[in-house]
Symmetry: C2
Subunit: 384 residues, 2 copies
């Protein structure tokens, strides 16, 4: 028998374990139904709980332990609560979230993919009816940029303090993420053709394309990397004459996400600007409860990619059984599709899970239901 | 006779001169009506036009020429169009917008104030009716941070390129902007009491306050300055026990601006994060056409502050007479109120202009009208 596809399951903190429980139930149903050669191992870290016992969020050899898996399915980490409420801060964010950044970095998960598609039944925050058609993919550079952690604090804590934060951008990481964006744009166009729901985008010289990539920068103020991004974008774009291109400044992009989100297809942004835009995109697709996310390494098959919903651990609603597991389940569906590169049987399981989640949302969206009720309803749909 | 209050009028590019023409008409009406001791001088720079003739956007002694004025009223600069349409780029943004950043820096206009209040008649982009009550003031640190322009490009244009962008934050600039935020929160609470429209905000320990300051950072990823901001915020907050405090990460803040903007009062953010949040806030208050802005130096009375709408020069609609002058007029109203520190008679003129703009919007908002029609309708309201 072939080697099984192995998943490291890390439920994490807060609502993480609650939404993960539903993901595991769905995976169990799919495995039994399709006799999938799929295994998973549950880890009690990274987490606050592990920290309380060991004084650190995870063991020293955590990355080594995880390396042999084909994917990491993560619930949520940390406490995104307010800084001025010490009771809600068991650990400073910087410590409890460090594993997240360490995983992205350690396995060079250089793509963060966050689709924002408003499924039927999901909450619509915008007044304009055309916003029902939101269907974009935000691709966030996930390996460098604003997140390198460089800089420091000189004369810390004194009135003469100077804090610096250094952003570092390389040609190579810029080129690969922009190229990835164009490839995804092509794939999305092909998918739409298959599903007979073609979209068109106009280029500036009047040509009509079936997909678009919008580059985000703030090059009128952050010119050093803004110019690098722009130049690389223009170079790579020449290889994709079938894809329309567009450039938005990050401030204008936030505005246009709210004013006319239906105009976007693929959006490529830096680490921080991508972080900001994906939270906004999550709202456009119905809120954090339904926003999937993944951290991919498309170039090195020997390291696991990581699948985690966009939402955090939401300590304010943890333990109440009311967290929406939809984002976690859509994330799990994306993981199965991704793992099809190892075991093609997983592709259809992934699509099945996506379809079940979408059907559930269409039928019940808007009705308040508990975490477990939603998971159960989706499992029922999956049952043979 | 006392020295007149002197305004440097710089219409700029694109729709700048069009909306400025309406501001000047309103100022003329107000001056005649109240015999205001007010003068203005029009400058053909900074602008593209000046650049075409002289090869630079403004004369070398521009700052010296402007220094003797009490305020600068600016239309709009530059071309925020797409990077990939060379025809629309007369000048690279970095060049045409440089005067804007040079003015903010040259006169140490360290506060950028951008109120976002949804006036009756303005377009409502959000579906939730509670968003009718949006009334926040975003205060952007305007003198340092991400905008210091430091860093560079190593091995430029090669596959080995490394671009760096250095963010610099000082204790002093952090302290003054946070303190300014708390002062504004108090003033807003007092104003609301006067107008019998009190709002309440809860602190984390359950106390009820009449105003709130929300600090924005991304301290879980950009820790060096995030921690500095957080520490200074906590220190300054102790002096304002009557003001509720709150801390949001910039990504979550963008989400909450769309999901529940009515919960915010005063928001304090860094230069870049403030830039992003104010574009979003502009949408919440009805769009760029109605979003005022100002760049203030509250500490040095010998240099002018600068008043410019949040919007850019909008070359795509320039010359058509369809730009909405509302943002420009609200900005002009704010300028008059600000100048009341020099000449108290200007305060009521500022309020009068604000009220006329608000009344016009309430009556005609939603009806498509030209730039001039809107200006004329407002002038009529101002006439004795
Ligand atoms: C928790 C935090 C460090 C993280 C990020 O900024 O990347 C989160 O906001 C995300 O979007 O995954
Ligand atoms: C034009 C640009 C440099 C400017 C900024 O980023 O400050 C603008 O977006 C603004 O908000 O005033």
């Amino acid at each position: 028998m072939a080697h099984p596809t192995r998943i490291a399951v890390t439920p994490g903190d807060g609502i993480g374990p609650e939404v993960m429980a539903e993901a595991i139930r769905c995976l169990e149903v799919l495995r039994a139904k399709h006799r999938l050669n799929l295994e998973w191992t549950r880890f009690p870290w990274p987490s606050h709980a592990w920290h309380q016992e060991h004084g650190v969020c995870w063991p020293q050899d955590a990355l080594d332990q995880l390396r042999e898996f084909d994917a990491i399915l993560l619930g949520a980490l940390g406490d995104p609560g307010p800084a001025d409420d010490p009771e809600r801060y068991l650990l400073p964010d910087s410590e409890s979230l460090a594993p997240l950044l360490a995983l992205r970095k350690g396995f060079d998960q250089w793509v963060c993919e966050r689709p924002a598609r408003l499924l039927k039944g999901a909450r619509q925050y915008l007044a304009d009816d055309r916003a029902r058609d939101v269907d974009m993919l935000v691709i966030r550079e996930n390996s460098e940029g604003e997140y390198v952690g460089q800089g420091g604090r000189l004369r810390k804590g004194t009135p003469d303090e100077v804090a610096t934060q250094v952003e570092v951008f390389t040609y190579r990481a810029t080129e690969r993420i922009i190229r990835y964006g164009f490839e995804q744009a092509r794939l999305r166009a092909e998918d739409r053709v298959r599903q007979s729901r073609t979209r068109t985008f106009q280029t500036h010289d009047g040509r009509v394309c079936e997909s678009q990539v919008c580059l985000i920068t703030k090059r009128n103020a952050l010119g050093h990397w803004g110019d690098l991004y722009t130049e690389v974008f223009e170079t790579v774009a020449r290889e994709y004459p079938d894809v329309a291109t567009h450039h938005e400044l990050v401030d204008a992009a936030c505005m246009k996400f709210v004013q006319s989100p239906w105009r976007f297809d693929v959006v490529v942004a830096s680490n921080l600007q991508g972080d900001i835009l994906t939270d906004l995109a999550a709202v456009l697709s119905g809120g954090m409860g339904v926003a999937p996310s993944c951290n991919l390494n498309p170039t090195d098959p020997t390291v696991p990619s990581m699948f985690e919903p966009t939402h955090g651990s939401a300590p304010d609603i943890a333990g109440q059984g009311i967290a929406d597991p939809t984002a976690m389940l859509l994330t799990t569906a994306r993981m199965l599709e991704w793992l099809a590169r190892k075991d093609p049987a997983l592709a259809s399981a992934g699509r099945e899970l996506f379809d079940a989640v979408a059907a559930d949302l269409e039928q019940h969206g808007g009705t308040p239901r508990g975490t477990h009720d939603i998971g159960e309803a989706i499992c029922k749909r999956l049952q043979p």
